[in-house]
Amino acid sequence: MNFSEIDTGPIWLSLQLAGATVILLLIVGTPLAWWLAHTRNRWRTCAEALVALPLVLPPTVLGFYLLIAFGPNGWLGGPVKAVTGSALSFTFSGLVLASTLYSLPFVVQPLQNAFETVGRAPLEAAWTLGASRLDAFFTVASPMALRGYITAAVLGFAHTLGEFGVVLMVGGNIPGETKVVSIDIYDRVETLDFASAHWLSAGLLIFSFLVLVFVYTVNRRLPVRI
């Protein structure tokens, strides 16, 4: 057994998927987490529950709904097909969207916690000193919530890397497009190629462990400062 027998394509694809998902999640998750941390709206509890749903739902539930929504006649896939020429199922973009939903709580919850820890006081101080709301967010709240951002990004990335069920259901196992490393491992186990499955699995195991060690270290060591 040597490394040349392992196709690195699925590994790269997984890294790309996780990267794209995290970027999208930070963009979408920041305003959402901010709103959740500061609103007194009575729908807040419902919104929090919605965000947390992927934590408790089996991936098959999400996969099933997405499969129906993503197809050429689905309510999401249809319009996308009309614009881009191809629906969302069995595409990389479809996987990014699916992963964004699936990893949402892993990014939104740490951000929300961080924003809640920062609280309103530093912001109110910044506003009285003449900072605009946006300015106050970027120069005061964001740096103070840095730990939250690091945790969110790393957990979102690692969780997407570990995604399996949803991808199995909407991916279609296309090399270079939707055959990510977790699917590759599954394939190799099924075809009794245990040697490669061991290498890939051990790699993922060690990587995930290091990621968590990193997150815990950051959370303990990084001081909160402006």
């Binding site: 499969l67 129906i68 993503f70 197809g71 050429p72 006649n73 896939g77 191809s86 629906a87 199922s89 069995f90 199995l168 909407v170 279609g172 196992n173 296309i174 599954y186 394939d187 186990v189 099924e190 075809t191 009794l192």
Partner: protein
Amino acid sequence: MKKIICVAALFWVAFVPETFAGEANLAVAANFLEPARRLVARFESQSEKQLPHKVKIISGSTGKLYAQTIHGAPFDVLLAADSHRPRLLEGRGDAVAGSRFTYALGRLALWSADPKRINGDGRAALKSEKFQRLALANPKTAPYGLAAEQTLRSLKLWERLGGKVVRGENVAQAFHFVATENAELGFVALSQVLTYKKKGSHWEVPASLHEPIAQDAVLLTHGKANPAAKAFLEFLRGEAAKKIIRELGYARQAPGGG
């Protein structure tokens, strides 16, 4: 008091009848799931008069069931989608030597959920390339996937259509990719088409385009002494079972064989 009676009744239902009758775990290749359900229903109603045997069905791709079996899954009988893996199991000692036989010959079909897409000969639908996705079971793990690949190669379309192929984990997933219209076309088992409630269009792929899909049954070592497992295999060889299997889109004997 009511609660105690309820609990006692549940306990009775859940555990006690098993001590009177045999119960077998039947591992079934995904393509044969629906026929297996019907066969088991017939078998159970037939055996009710003598020994009320029960058969539990577990389905998946043949590759997965094989891997689970060799790692100690409690399966008593395997209805595979090929003859290769049952033979391997016999060789390893995970199946009872001499118990293997071909219970069905699989028929491949090209299928679409759109009633107008396939008109008679499916080759035209394939060659038109007026579709974005063609679903098939993973050729590496599922015999129907392999037969689909062989068919496309015989038609000299494998290279041309390769970019449109999506692979289901097994033939059941290939089928639901097509049923949900995520793929316009798909190679599936003819029996799946025949047992599906909604109408679409399909083409029975000529058996000459791929190697025969001989589906073998085998008694697994785990079920060596299980009366329900043996009785079910006996039933599977019989005329009643043959009739059901034929009606659901399988040939019973090898082409040319008796």
